[in-house]
């Protein structure tokens, strides 16, 4: 048995890290001036393709690479439509969501109905996916994992949890400290100005949309692995997390570092929804009042919080918004 606080902290991280992948991926895309509403679909495609590749080759590394490539191809499609063909970004993004989720069910149902069935994911001795399974399980970090309380909560996770945080930090550095990051931000703010300075706008947009989509794909893969890799006919692994990621981008004010914080704040309320009764049970005197609040309120709470943040950030008089000025508008060089 785990201490209730340990489990609480542990679950905040385990169940909400996919949001960080989705959010950082989307931030990268939005920084290039494109608004991609296809996060849900991109994650779904990355998840299903990556998982199947991993199960086939019995390797988490291959799963991640394939997931990145599959989702990256979706990003390529998005860039081709919106950057080259100048399609409406909102419509294209929604299309990708519809397409991606349908693709997920299509592949999953087809495989489940086929002779071999959906490939199961198991650490059992004779299992063909043993290595893949074990690579996705929690790592034991010497010393850190053994710290009482925090060791289990913070330092006993699968590799993909740390990768997500690493990606967010690297991305933050990339935006702030490197020349390509500066150019990218310039494109997001004013593509015409960047273009006049000799920045290859099209190349930058393509590249960053593809990389951002790839990152989302790994987040989808993580969700699938977290669910034990089982395919359920009517229930998608992504489960709406793609949409929450888009809201979290605004929550984080387009900063990958703040996205880490945003993920955990959202995760806190998301976990409270599940664990409020357990907290009240473990600490009847201090937290017993939690059971007096109807659970429907807890279910709504993460979204209420998001809503409040969105309203507050819109009302804020400060001009320090990280929102790229040119977001959602296609750049066409000969446009006047």
């Amino acid at each position: 048995m785990l201490d209730v606080f340990t489990l609480f902290l542990f679950n905040i991280i385990v169940y909400n890290i996919p949001l960080l992948y989705g959010t950082t991926g989307e931030i990268m895309i939005e920084k290039s001036g494109s608004l991609n509403l296809g996060v849900e679909g991109t994650m779904a495609i990355g998840a299903v393709v990556g998982y199947l590749a991993g199960a086939k080759t019995n390797s988490l590394f291959v799963a991640c690479i394939v997931s990145f490539i599959a989702a990256g191809l979706v990003g390529l499609l998005f860039s081709f439509l919106t950057v080259t063909l100048q399609a409406n970004q909102n419509v294209t993004g929604l299309t990708i969501t519809t397409f991606g989720v349908a693709f997920y069910y299509f592949i999953g149902n087809a495989l489940s109905n086929s002779k071999g069935g959906w490939p199961m994911f198991s650490g059992a001795e004779e299992s063909a996916t043993k290595a893949f399974y074990e690579q996705s399980q929690a790592l034991h970090i010497p010393v850190l994992s053994d710290i009482p309380f925090f060791g289990k909560a913070l330092f006993s996770h699968g590799i993909l949890v740390y990768v997500a945080i690493l990606i967010a930090i690297l991305m933050s550095v990339y935006f702030k400290k490197t020349v390509p990051g500066l150019k990218l931000r310039a494109i997001g703010e004013n593509p015409a100005a960047a273009d006049s300075l000799g920045v290859n706008v099209t190349l930058y947009k393509y590249l960053h949309i593809i990389i951002g989509s790839g990152i989302m794909g790994i987040g989808g893969l993580y969700m699938g692995l977290n669910m034990g890799g089982t395919f359920e006919g009517s229930n998608c692994w992504i489960n709406g997390y793609g949409w929450i990621s888009i809201a979290l981008v605004i929550f984080a004010n387009w900063s990958p570092a703040k996205a880490i914080l945003g993920t955990f704040i959202f995760g806190f309320f998301n976990t409270l929804r599940v664990q409020n009764a357990a907290l009240a049970y473990a600490f009847p005197n201090a937290l017993g009042w939690l059971t007096k609040i109807p659970s429907h309120f807890f279910s709504a709470l993460p979204f209420i919080i998001t809503l409040i943040v969105l309203i507050a950030s819109s009302l804020s008089k400060k001009k320090k918004s990280g929102e790229p000025q040119a977001i959602g508008r296609n750049y066409y060089r000969e446009d006047r």
Binding site: T95, N109, M120, G233, S234, V274, A277, S295
Partner: protein, 425 residues
């Protein structure tokens, strides 16, 4: 120009993905037909699709309206679809040509009515609707089409000519699963048993299942305590998973039962090295080291009965079949094959309880409790007169009284029996 091209491409993509959603049904149906073993249906979500029946011996046509996709591989719609196709094969109908399906129909009167019109146009002789919310549309359309038999699962409405409802005593199967869980709890020396439930006392269906399971546990292990975590939705994989984790980690449960859509609670039980009872299908594949047995439905038992009656004499359908509410005795419900994780006494005890229920000698919600004793090979069952009491202390049935299964059928059961606690509110 560029704009024009992009609009066309986007439009094409949108159309494609809409078809990917809708069209994957027929595409996949075809695929699984070629594999044969699932017997999924090739026909007809679109009424205008030309259908050419091949070699059909009779012109009896079956219609079905599903809440989810006919291509589901587990869960509620899957169980019904499997039941209908199995029943058709058993009575000599060909599901590929004689079955018309309209799937993914939400509980919306207008959409259900349209689906019924479509199936009536296809010439169906009997129409099954599997979801509770189809109830009003079914009642209305039964009057409009007096020659078609309407059969509605889980509902409570009917008429005296061509509209019935059907459901089963799944609580009997849950009682049996409870026996397996009870033996396991004794063996591992942990009286805490968890139950991840979609809903609690709001629905008699979930509530009676929890109670019956708890009574099965307590028939073996009188000290068993059942902790219910209500997730307030029929299916949310992630929530089901976290609920099971909480029950195991915080409430110390050693066996996890469930009444929800996915296999996540069993997968968690497997990961955490505790045990579990699934639902709807044998979940031993998902949780090989932990799953004991699952209450399951054999819907084909009803579908075969209903189709046969409708084929031979549709006019007397309401007399021969009527409103259908059967259990173990009709083979409509059962438990899945006991896994290797079960304790040795389990099979014998389940057999004893099952015989009592099949013979009609005893039922779960009565003033008589069963108790099991003895080692494997000599398990015996005793009946003890003991009142059925809620966890708040109110007496429902006096000691020795008859069973109150009407509370389940009419949906009035809204209490937990003693020994059950809901952990969240």
């Amino acid at each position: 120009m560029k704009k024009l091209i992009s609009i066309i491409v986007t439009a094409a993509l949108t159309v494609t993905s809409v078809f990917a959603l809708a069209g994957c049904n027929s595409a996949e149906g075809g695929e699984s037909n070629s594999n044969g073993d699932n017997g999924t249906v090739a026909s007809q979500d679109d009424g205008d699709e030309p259908v050419t029946p091949v070699d059909s011996d009779s012109d009896f046509k079956v219609g079905a309206i599903y809440i989810n996709s006919q291509n589901d591989t587990s869960g509620y719609t899957y169980a019904h679809h499997k039941g209908i196709t199995t029943a058709m094969k058993s009575i000599g109908l060909n599901p590929d040509t004689d079955l018309y399906i309209v799937d993914n129909i939400p509980e919306d009167d207008e959409k259900v009515k349209q689906a019924i019109d479509q199936l009536a146009g296809n010439g169906c002789n009997i129409i099954f609707g599997i979801s509770f919310g189809y109830i009003n549309a079914f009642e209305e359309k039964a009057e409009e089409y007096p020659d078609i038999i309407f059969s509605h699962a889980t509902g409570y409405l009917s008429n005296d000519k061509n509209f019935n409802n059907y459901f089963g005593r799944i609580y009997q199967a849950r009682y049996l699963a409870g026996i397996a869980a009870g033996y396991k709890s004794l063996a591992i020396g942990n009286n805490n048993i968890g139950y991840v439930s979609a809903w609690g006392t709001e629905y008699a269906e979930t509530c009676s299942g929890i109670n019956a399971f708890a009574m099965g546990c307590m028939a073996v292990n009188p000290d068993a305590k059942i902790s219910v975590y209500e997730i307030y939705t029929w299916g949310d994989q992630e929530l089901e998973r976290q609920a099971a984790e909480t029950l195991i980690e915080t409430y110390g449960c050693g066996v996890i039962a469930q009444h929800c859509d996915s296999a996540q609670p069993q997968i968690v039980a497997n990961e955490k090295h505790v045990f579990g009872c699934g639902y709807n299908s044998d979940m031993t594949a998902e949780a090989p080291d932990s799953h004991l047995t699952a209450p399951i439905w054999n819907w084909d038992a009803y579908y075969a009965t209903a189709m046969k009656a409708a084929m031979t004499d549709p006019d007397s359908f309401m007399q021969t079949v009527g409103n259908y509410y059967e259990g173990l005795s009709a083979g409509l419900v059962d438990v899945s094959e006991l896994s290797k994780n079960c304790e040795p006494e389990t099979a014998e005890a389940i057999k004893l309880a099952k015989d009592l229920m099949i013979s009609g000698e005893w039922d779960v919600f009565s003033g008589v409790k069963l108790t099991f004793s003895g080692a494997a090979g000599s398990v015996k069952v005793d009946k003890v007169n003991d009142a059925l009491v809620t966890n708040a202390g109110a007496e429902i049935v006096a000691a020795g009284g008859a069973s109150v299964d009407d509370g389940v059928i009419q949906g009035t059961m809204d209490y937990y029996v003693a020994g059950v606690t809901q952990v969240n509110n």
